[in-house]
């Protein structure tokens, strides 16, 4: 599939960073505000699909291959399962929140009651949100990319 006109390319280039910032914000604040890994990943994949529609699949496949997207999706799934099994190793059960209470990353227990929301809380849940977000970004964008690439191959014959 070829690209669209110069107007579409310019507007897509301007709005692409805003969409990426919004999606990554939804992923990173998944334990505080509505949203999470799936929703933020869907927003980021929407931004990537906008670039794909504007610039065409040939230009986009020059930037990223679908094999790398497949590897990224597998890395997200492996990170999620590894965090769950680490809960079995460090704690007691599967999916045990072993980072909570420790003073390392995402380990602060917030004070009781209505407080200002602190992002450095919730233990292992933000890391699982990152893993799910990576998997959703790679999976959904891979679907759209393969769809566009198949229509490109059809144009040749």
């Amino acid at each position: 599939m070829n690209g669209m006109s110069r107007i579409v390319k310019t507007i897509a280039s301007i709005t692409f960073p805003l969409v990426m910032i919004y999606g990554l914000y939804i992923i990173a604040h998944g334990h505080l505000t509505p949203g999470g890994g799936f929703q933020g990943g869907a927003v980021v994949a929407s931004g990537c699909a906008m670039i794909l529609i504007a610039y065409g699949s040939v230009w986009t496949l020059g930037k990223i291959k679908e094999k790398n997207l497949s590897i990224l999706e597998s890395v997200g799934a492996i990170c999620f399962i590894t965090l769950a099994i680490l809960g079995l190793g460090f704690g007691t059960v599967f999916f045990k929140n072993f980072l909570i209470g420790s003073e390392i990353i995402f380990g602060i227990i917030p004070s009781f009651g209505s407080t200002i929301s602190n992002i450095n809380t919730a233990g292992v849940i933000p890391l699982m949100n990152f893993a799910v977000g990576l998997k959703v970004i790679a999976g959904l964008f891979g679907i759209v990319l393969i769809m566009a690439y198949a229509s490109t191959r059809r144009d040749k014959y």
Partner: protein
């Protein structure tokens, strides 16, 4: 008061855009009507106090479905045949 008016107005707009999506002969315009229906549906989810579902609906329904439909229409014909 104004929330009740929105609750009455939004389903009417959703049904209207769905009818446009079925009845239009230009398939690009029909795809945009589907995107508008999905966006109004996400707004309905938001005023029904489900912002989580609203973000997912706006991301998947209004953007990725429209992208797949536009790719499929660009690789086939744009206008629907008159039978």
């Amino acid at each position: 008061m104004i929330l009740d008016a929105i609750h009455i107005l939004l389903p009417i707009l959703i049904i209207a855009s769905s009818l446009f999506a079925v009845l239009l002969k230009d398939l690009i315009a029909a795809a945009i009507a589907v995107a508008a229906m999905s966006l109004l549906l996400s707004l309905e989810f938001f005023i029904l106090q489900a912002p989580d579902v609203a973000i997912a609906e706006a991301g998947v329904g209004a953007c990725l479905t429209t992208a797949i439909l536009v790719i499929a229409i660009k690789s086939t014909k744009r206008m629907e045949d008159e039978k």
